[in-house]
Subunit: 155 residues, 2 copies
DNA sequence: ACTGAAAGATAGTAGGC
DNA sequence: GCCTACTATCTTTCAGT
């Protein structure tokens, strides 16, 4: 199944809404040379069918005092199904963990951790992450700069 | 400066909009026990002052046929200012590159690459990424599963 | 700062092509 | 699948506290 049953107009709508979901139906209708009702119906369907998962606000993390982003590469001791699920469940409960990704290769999981600063990260590591059972190692890398940061998928 | 000049109500609004930006002012006003006009004015200010950078639609990547997410760890030959900027600029032009992060530690950059499948990634690597000057090595890791995936910062 | 109410714009619905 | 037209709801503004 390639691109489900999306036509050109659907793709254009998704492209626009990925960039800016505060476009009105009227604005989109103008850009795509369709009526407002058509655009409305398309978007309703794209939401209903799950192409659009949610509409969210993206904040400026520096302004809300989340200056440090860490990528923590985690290696576990065992890889039983139960161990993996347990780790995923527990680590997902920490609000500092924005992403938990199970990976191929040298590490089991990559975590994206947002904290105020290095001290706060250190605290998180010692008092939260490192207390989980079954962890072998955690290697921490930190974001120096973000030349590109997109939520939009190429379509 | 801790949390700029945001009060409790601002924080609550940001929390809500990070989770779901399609809440109406009325819904937010009800939740926070404020008037619609107050909520409206708060949100206007939060946008104007840059706390809210943008409102976007988050798509289901599997539905739009972006099944493979790769993290590509890139090491450059030189680290002159010109070299770094050149790399950042060029790599940011590729639509497959959703994120380009300069990192501390063993690698210079981590790239988040979204492609249809392994073949498409391989193609991207050979024909696009690996053609950039000054690259020493690219190590590719792939996402097996996403137990947690959030755009919302903890606040 | 916050509020209620008015005015204007938008989302959402219905019926027909 | 697309449209026009209508209604409900929401955003936005503003005078008043």
């Amino acid at each position: 199944m390639i691109q489900g049953d999306l036509d050109k107009v659907d793709i254009q709508i998704l492209k626009l809404l990925q960039q800016d979901a505060s476009f009105t139906n009227k604005e989109i209708a103008l850009k795509l040379h369709k009526s407002i009702a058509t655009v409305h119906e398309r978007i309703r369907r794209l939401k209903e069918q799950g192409y659009i998962k949610k509409i969210v606000a993206i904040l400026d993390r520096k302004k809300i005092d989340r200056n440090l982003i860490a990528f923590s590469h985690v290696l576990l001791k065992e890889h039983t199904a139960a161990t993996l699920v347990k780790f995923e469940t527990e680590v997902s409960k920490f609000p500092e963990v924005m992403e938990c990704l199970q990976m191929t290769g040298a590490h089991d999981f990559i975590l994206r951790i947002a904290t105020r600063d290095m001290d706060t990260y250190h605290e998180f590591l010692r008092n939260k992450l490192a207390t989980l059972p079954n962890i072998t190692t955690v290697q921490s890398y930190f974001v120096l700069s973000e030349p590109k940061s997109e939520t939009a998928y190429p379509i």
